[in-house]
């Protein structure tokens, strides 16, 4: 029912265990497993089609619509609820839990091993110098302390500059404040200089471009970072590679 639980299910369950995936499951921008998701029916996000499928288990996120969840429960379906993980340990716990749900704990263990290997690689490659990076999204949104991105940054030896802006969990930073702070790098979701809307135009403002040309921008696609799961191993490898590119 949710783009993040989709990806956990896809990486751990057998194909015949999956009856349907969420509405955004095929969105390559959000989902790392978008290609794989094309083989399965896409659900509307409402209760109706779930009820028709009569699944044994419905995996939902606490961010899914409450009314829909209540309705499914009231109709006797077994719901397993996942929260949004904020640290790598929470991610590992979720992978383990999902492994139990789909009755493939062995696969969960191998996924976790892959993640651990990536973490070890990232730590080994982490540079001694403590660079400050600011994870910056559209409209100037900055992920703070309690976010997956923050944990990823820490693993590769980067400090999240959000704290210096007084941003705790996450919030918007003004262009002026970012320019004044001058972190060493900014972390963005895509390269390129096309602004399809104003939110993206923020990241391409000349003031930001001047201090952060492409070789000061760490590019980490959103589909690797929005959810917790196997893709975080790729995220860490990519982050390490990017860090080597910009510090060269």
């Amino acid at each position: 029912m949710n783009v993040c639980s989709d990806q956990l299910v896809l990486s751990l369950a057998d194909p015949d265990q999956i009856l349907g995936l969420s509405r955004f499951s095929r969105d390559a921008w959000q989902s790392w497993a978008a290609d794989k998701a094309r083989n399965y029916p896409r659900l509307s996000g409402e209760a109706e089609d779930v009820l028709v499928l009569k699944p044994d288990i419905v995996v939902v996120s606490l961010f899914d619509k409450r009314a829909t969840r209540e309705l499914l429960k009231a109709n006797g379906l077994h719901l397993v609820e996942f929260t949004v993980p904020r640290t790598l340990d929470e991610v590992k716990a979720q992978i383990r839990e999902m492994g139990d749900v789909v009755q493939h704990p062995d696969r969960a263990a191998s996924v976790i091993a892959r993640l651990d290997a990536a973490i070890a690689r990232a730590r080994a490659a982490a540079s001694g110098r403590h660079y400050r990076a600011l994870p910056l999204e559209r409209r100037g949104f900055v992920s703070g302390e309690a976010s997956l991105v923050n944990s990823l940054l820490r693993e590769v030896g980067l400090t999240n500059a959000a704290g210096e802006l007084g941003i705790g969990a996450g919030g918007f930073a003004s262009l002026e404040a970012i320019v004044k702070l001058r972190p060493d790098f900014i972390l963005v979701a895509e390269a390129g200089d096309r602004a399809e809307d104003d939110g993206r135009a923020f990241l391409l403002h000349p003031a930001l471009q001047r201090f952060y040309p492409p070789d000061k921008r760490i590019v980490l696609p959103e589909r690797l970072t929005v959810c917790g799961g196997v893709m975080l191993a790729d995220a860490l490898d990519k982050l390490t590679a990017e860090l080597q590119r910009v510090t060269r």
């Binding site: 003004s174 320019v179 399809e196 809307d197 403002h205």
Partner: protein
């Protein structure tokens, strides 16, 4: 009253007009300076001045020259063109309630721009945006004047304007739903509120040529507006081609409003309020009202844009919201004052 008395009186009136215009220009300059001095990062006036002329640190320079200066220029130009458009429309229709926002022009321009954004047709910083916005604004004002007819009463104009702006609003919502960009609804919801935040010189380059062209067209028709106060027939006998004048005014307003909306979203009611603030000082001559109204519009938008940066709030207040909050009660007040005329229109 002897001829001499009359000459003295008109001389006094002229002095007052020049005095008021000069004071207004000074106010605009002052507000522009304040606008450069204010932002989330506190910079001293000295640093701001140095940075403006290439001194101070490079961070201060970027903040002042690339973040604040474009914003100030846009507030000045857009406020100005909105005030001017309002004065021109009021002159053309000889009607104090005329203004671009009541006629649905910004809403229609916004529809044009939203069409481009949400269908992902072009980069938001390309000329496609103002051009489509201008075409949409032109279409809406043209349609309004065609529907309302030549000697339309207030009521018809306002009703037709309401219909057009509701239509543009609905069309905008529909286009948003058809978009493939997942962020588009939020983006456009923000954008429709009107904001000058984080604009750059790319935006200035996008809007300014159209605003300047629109302003020149409107200003060039000043004497025609004056002739028009005598009535359409009298104006025609004085050599004013009323049909051509209408077309020019619509073009001027569409160029200005379309160009403005394309970079800031909809900012309403400045065009309505500015001429009214100036009328008691300047008098009722629509030709003399144009420049002071433009200045008053600039001052209003600069002040509103300063206010949104000062008012403490958790997230940023949109300047378009502020102008509407001030503008709508003003509009209601005008309706109250014009109640008799409106009632007469019905009877």
């Amino acid at each position: 009253m002897s001829v001499q008395d009359f000459a003295l009186a008109s001389e006094a009136a002229a002095r007052r007009r020049w005095g008021a215009t000069a004071a207004l220009a000074a106010l605009v300059v002052l507000l522009a300076l304040i606008s450069l001095g204010i932002g989330p990062v506190r910079l001293s006036p000295l640093t701001v001045t140095e940075a403006l002329f290439g001194g101070a640190t490079d961070v201060a320079q970027v903040i002042v020259r690339e973040i604040r200066l474009p914003r100030t220029i846009l507030a000045f130009a857009i406020g100005g063109i909105l005030g001017l458009s309002g004065a021109a429309l009021q002159g053309l229709l000889r009607n104090p309630l005329a203004s671009p926002s009541l006629f649905g022009a910004p809403q229609s321009a916004a529809f044009g721009a939203v069409l481009v954004i949400s269908l992902g047709l072009a980069d938001v910083r390309s000329y496609a945006l103002p051009v489509v916005a201008i075409i949409a604004a032109f279409g809406s004002v043209f349609a309004l004047l065609a529907i309302a007819g030549r000697n339309a009463g207030l009521l018809i104009l306002i009703l037709a304007g309401l219909a057009i702006s509701s239509f543009a609003g609905a069309a905008t919502a529909l286009v948003m739903n058809l978009s493939s960009n997942p962020f588009v609804v939020l983006e456009i919801a923000f954008w429709l509120l009107g904001s000058l935040e984080d604009r750059s010189f790319q935006h200035v380059a996008l809007a300014l040529p159209f605003i300047v062209a629109g302003a020149m067209i409107l200003l060039s028709q000043a004497s025609a507006f004056r002739a028009l106060t005598l009535g359409e027939e009298a104006a025609q006998s004085l050599g004013v081609d009323v049909g051509r004048l209408r077309l020019l005014v619509i073009t001027g307003v569409a160029l200005g409003v379309g160009g403005a909306v394309a970079v800031t979203g909809t900012i309403g009611f400045i065009g309505l309020v500015a001429p009214h603030l100036m009328r008691p000082v300047i008098g009722h001559d629509p030709a003399r009202l144009l420049v002071p109204s433009a200045l008053a519009g600039s001052a209003l938008l600069l002040a509103a844009d300063i206010a949104v940066r000062i008012i403490p709030s958790t997230s940023d207040i949109k300047v378009g919201v502020l102008t509407s909050i001030i503008g709508v009660p003003f509009f209601l007040y005008l309706i109250m004052r014009e109640r008799r005329a409106l009632g007469g229109g019905v009877a």
